[in-house]
Symmetry: C2
Subunit: 257 residues, 2 copies
DNA sequence: AGCATTATGTGTATTTTTTACACAAAATAT
DNA sequence: ATATTTTGTGTAAAAAATACACATAATGCT
């Protein structure tokens, strides 16, 4: 085989194909993966999309078979434009859920030297928020399953830790980002919105204060309902006023709760 | 050469040494680097530590020779416990500045497919804050130089972008982190502290309101000065009250400006 | 069917926080 | 010597956050 090729400096070639499917470098390289933490909300509870690890093409390259894990996979060095593209591609391959690259927000890098038993693997975790409707649609993917935040099983690798960090990022970002927009369906009720904020921030709010604050921002508009509500028990339906929301956001808007 | 070795699955071996200094994998792997954005404050201006890229051992592996860049370098797959260890190690090697691994805060991953002309390189950017005294001490390293934030030259690779993102992270984090602690010397004045906050947040504060707010937190204690101030023009010296600061922080304290 | 329970909508007074604002003294610059 | 700049200090007004209670309709239970 072409040993001479293997001896070229890596400045001349990105990699050398010494034999079919073999890639050679002058210094050791880690593998890089993207993992996805997909949060959903069914109107009652915060959920996370997990997959069951199975045997892949080559069983020997698969670790933690049969355990639950975050969706994710290896960077395609030649095709993935960014690591977020890896996240989007792998999520679709593993769960059928098709999200845009810009829906992924970076959580952080996890690089502990022994986090993967096979070789050195650095993973970049990303979270994404999906609307209630998509939560229901995606639930029937074979290996993928939505778990309630309060009922997450033990996960493979260091995914427990990654999930905790992702949740705390979400908790931080809820102050600056339109989390309601992204997790609720287009039409929603104030109790749902409040419950969502309470689930993520892990606190309880006074109903009146929450409603006052939200109304003060002027980002909610009432949806006229065909079935005219005669009772207080049937919650009023709202949708987000996107114009007002965007205007506020571009002015450095900051949701405080 | 040892083609047979190269054909072992990567589950059996992390990498295969096909020839001296050659590492082989079944799929292409990216190189991974850590880059450091080291912020300093000289009492007047926010500064950033940059290095001038020179010829390394092997000139052909070096890109952007002669340009300014962020300190940083390749992950040592076998030795660096985490990518933050890479950052700390490379910063010391390149600038002489010796920081603890926990001083580095992750900024994010930069993974554009063509960001490095040599091969696919994913970098994980980290920022660190150093005290005024260390800024002065480190200034005499050969290749390294402190640049005023307002006067940064064009940088190699995508380091301009990385620096912008790092700064905006710092700007966000100043609301939750003891930035003053880490960037000022032990004894400082209120005008210095205010100027630091103004430099990072890019706003101006009213002097009285700033002082009131800071005093309200009870994290400043006045330093008795040998030269007794007879004039208002000589600013009062303070140090941080670490006990009060830590207590506030563990209670979920949040500096708002 | 009737009754109990639960979920929803709504307004105001109090407290806390934020903001706006001016002058006198000492150091420095001219 | 004079002008300019820097610093320290307190209060009143506005805005925001918090605490709090009752009436109504849907649902659940027997």
């Amino acid at each position: 085989m072409q040993i001479s090729l293997a001896l070229t400096t890596f400045a001349e070639k990105k990699w050398n194909m010494a034999t079919k499917g073999q890639y050679t470098y002058e210094y050791p390289h880690p593998a890089v993966t993207a993992d996805c933490i997909v949060f959903g909300y069914d109107g009652k509870e915060l959920k996370v999309l997990l997959i069951k690890r199975g045997k892949e093409k080559d069983a020997s390259t698969t670790a933690y078979v049969g355990e639950w894990a975050l969706p994710g996979g290896f960077l395609d060095v030649e095709k993935d434009k960014t690591i977020a593209h890896t996240a989007a591609r792998e999520l679709k391959e593993e769960t059928g859920l098709k999200l845009s690259v810009k829906d992924f927000k970076e959580v952080g890098t996890f690089s502990d030297i022994n986090r993967d038993p096979r070789e050195r693997v650095i993973t970049v975790a990303h979270y994404a928020l999906v609307k209630l409707a998509e939560v229901k649609a995606a639930t029937d993917a074979e290996k993928a399953e939505w778990y309630s935040w309060k009922d997450i099983p033990h996960l493979a690798f260091d995914h427990d830790k990654i999930l905790r960090v992702a949740f705390s990022k979400l908790k931080q970002n809820i102050h600056f980002e339109p989390v309601g927009f992204e997790l609720l369906s287009e039409v929603f009720t104030l109790p749902q919105l409040q419950n969502l904020y309470e689930s993520i921030l892990e606190v309880k709010f006074d109903r009146r204060n929450f409603a006052n604050k939200m109304k003060h921002y002027e980002i909610l508009s009432e949806v006229e309902d065909d079935t005219p509500r005669h009772g207080t028990r049937t919650p009023i339906k709202y949708r987000f006023d996107k114009d007002n929301y965007d205007r506020l956001k571009s002015n450095g808007f900051q949701l405080e709760f």
